[in-house]
Symmetry: C2
Subunit: 122 residues, 2 copies
């Protein structure tokens, strides 16, 4: 699949909610997204339609009045693709270099790395 990479920033905000909630009506979606700052329903509709066009979301009839929207690709899959794209684009695929920079920026601490080691050892 290539579509995974074509999720834009605004669309991603929609997807995050859909991944978390699995399935939502438009109104539920708008409500979720408006928790922090109010969002325009029309805008969300457009983004949703674009995601449907791209086969990233599907629309299923819930009842006579409303549809439900469900993700067609998994978050894992998206993350894998997003990681790869970022790594290639910014670091030409060099993970070490990326990690070093995160450490330099104090984004990654020693504790986190040790935690990670433990997890890997399973």
């Amino acid at each position: 699949m290539k579509n995974t990479e074509k999720i834009t920033d605004a669309e991603l905000e929609i997807m995050k909610v859909l991944w978390e909630k699995k399935s939502l009506t438009l109104n539920e979606l708008v409500e979720e997204l408006s928790k922090e700052e109010p969002k325009n329903k029309s805008t969300i509709k457009t983004l949703l339609y674009r995601l449907i066009d791209k086969n990233i979301v599907k629309s299923v009839e819930k009842n006579k009045k409303e549809n439900e929207y469900k993700p067609l690709i998994s978050e894992k899959k998206y993350l894998k693709s997003a990681n790869e794209t970022f790594l290639d684009k910014v670091y030409d695929g060099n993970v070490n270099n990326m990690l070093l920079n995160f450490v330099e920026d104090k984004k990654i601490t020693k504790e986190e790395i040790e935690k990670l080691l433990n997890i890997i050892d399973e």
Copy 2:
């Protein structure tokens, strides 16, 4: 500075070369960028001008005929900003989650993490 984040994908390719070579004429730049696949000079010109507009690159006279182009912001600074943007956008700032996903995708191996620990211990 905010401009750092506004470097687009195509512009980034230009910047990578400028960061590495410090200073180049247009022709040198085109030559470098064309090593893998030939690039259109006109396109590179446009990207260069946009970077100049954004105060990310400066143009200095080299001789009567040609100018040299130099980066105005450091690669480190860009990387810091790019890391942050990616982390926030995709993982809502959760570094652990990001690392876990990189590990799952086999992008980060145990060896790399151990190497990293050594580096931090300095």
